[in-house]
Symmetry: C2
Subunit: 331 residues, 2 copies
């Protein structure tokens, strides 16, 4: 009898409306991170904020993927070593663990592969892996922390990028109003926002912007219906595959926290969400959204802002007397 | 009888050694901040971390006074807009509320007067007060927060710098091992550190480096006994007073957290503490410390590292569609 009641309760729980709704939707809620190595996260967080991974001692991961600003720098293209103007918009680090690959052209398979790129890019952090590791190896508190996490006395770039990637795995943004709605809180979004979501689905936006990250899962051509005019020289996926068919194919950006990650597109040319929605509708879907439709979609997009990562600003271990000092003004 | 015992105990407590020792010492413990307006601190913290106060959208107060790095940038001189090389070492913001005045030459009377300087300095944040305030005024969440704190709908530079200064008042570092010793924990510093403190006093370092900040209270000539050779063009206090007698007079820097605030001196020319102690002994006091004496003083100086400010990384309110966007690559 008791068992039957429990079984009935379980069946009833399984058929609850929110779960049913979730199964139907092409967007799924962001899950809090799981299988996280906390010690490695603490180390990776320090490294993420440490400008000593750059030649200048001035640029850290957080400079261009600023966790106070939606994991982005809110610039069309980023500023690198010696004020170098970057070639492409810095994608948000938030929820980047959900991406099919990293960078706009997907040239890095995962977060770990990505993390080493900017350190050694002359136009970004301008350093080398060898020199960056040499700096860390000269800092006793880092040596101890790497030993605690990885069990070895010798720091290497593999450990550095592994720890940064582990920290980045924690940079997910659950609990957006839209996710609350998906999970059953029916008043978490209002009628306009819901209408925007319906329009987002019916217009076809959701064909590319779906899944938990509302994007990030595929490469798609920028300019399906109409060519996209850009001052940017970036040609996207073809740089990786060498295939002409992949020209102007870019990774579909996540729309999570899109309210915070302006300006938009790989060239950062769209300053506002209404502008981005207008362009996307026109060049990807052949649709001209009227002002009311545009406003509804924008209202929906703003429900995708989730809980921003919340943590204490890390305090970095100081140099030792032997630490090579940064050289910001030499070439 | 009971009253007598209590009285005896109170008298005994009043005459405890730590209180006696404290009264004798020329260095006093850092006190936690008092009379703090918490709402104003929260606003000021956001502004301190907000690169939108710069023309480029890339440089915030925290860029050069990095609270992960002892409130400094650990560079000889700072990097400004368009990678401009600054003329002088960025002093730590930690405990700067205890300074007699701000900047190496004391040209700002207080933290509020200081805060406006870098925003409008072409070689630092490269903006204007009017443009910075215009950006903030266009951001609804900032408008609300300024209204909550200051009671007005209109943001002005006075409010901006007042809030930043209020946040900076909280950036004190109590509870260093040396302060614990001053407050009575006799095993908080070891024999070598205590010997270093004794030498610090007996050699005359304490003549300038005294008070709660162990410095910051006066202007003194750099090169009393022997001229200081520097590539820096900075001439210090004379730039403010116009008096030739003030040439090469600089504000005595605080030695609090000096372990974290390398490199040293107004030109950042001393990379390490042993180097700084050697130079100071020689040019200020006419003393040649031997290796053992130098090591003792350095050991003492490292006991001055206090609790670093601990707070959650602020999340900045996003731009509105009307917010003027940064222009990092225009002149």
């Amino acid at each position: 009898m008791m068992k039957q009641r429990l079984l009935a309760a379980a069946v009833s729980a399984l058929s609850l409306a929110p779960i049913y709704a979730k199964a139907q939707e092409l967007i799924q809620p962001i899950k809090p991170p799981a299988q996280i190595n906390i010690g490695m996260v603490d180390l990776g967080k320090k490294l993420y904020f440490d400008p000593r991974l750059s030649k200048s001692g001035f640029i850290s991961c957080n400079s261009c993927h600023n966790l106070s600003m939606g994991g982005s720098d809110n610039l069309p293209t980023s500023i690198g070593d010696h004020w170098h103007q970057g070639p492409i918009n810095a994608p948000t680090v938030l929820n980047s663990s959900l991406n099919v690959a990293q960078f706009w052209d997907g040239r890095a398979a995962d977060l770990k592969a990505q993390a080493g790129g900017p350190i050694a890019n002359p136009g970004e952090m301008g350093f080398t892996h060898t020199l960056a590791v040499g700096v860390l190896q000269s800092i006793p508190a880092y040596v101890r922390e790497f030993k605690q996490v990885f069990g070895t006395d010798t720091i290497n770039i593999d450990g550095v990028t592994t720890a940064i990637a582990e920290f980045e795995k924690t940079l997910v943004t659950p609990n957006s109003r839209f996710d609350q709605w998906l999970l059953g809180k029916k008043d978490a979004i209002n009628a306009q926002e819901l209408a925007g979501y319906t329009l987002f689905k019916e217009s076809g936006c959701i064909a590319c912007h779906n899944g938990p990250a509302v994007g990030g899962a595929s490469f798609q051509k920028m300019g399906v219906v109409e060519a996209y005019k850009s001052a940017s020289k970036a040609e996207g996926r073809s740089a990786v595959t060498g295939k002409d068919a992949d020209r102007f194919n870019f990774k579909v950006p996540t729309l999570r926290n899109v309210e915070l990650t302006y300006p938009y597109f790989h060239d950062g040319a769209a300053n506002t969400l209404p502008e981005a929605v207008e362009t996307m509708g026109r060049i990807q879907l052949g649709k001209k959204f009227n002002a009311d439709e545009n406003a509804k979609i924008v209202a929906f997009l703003k429900t995708l802002t989730g809980d921003q990562p919340s943590f204490t600003l890390p305090i970095l271990p100081p140099d030792s007397d032997k630490t090579p000092r940064p050289t910001p003004f030499s070439q």
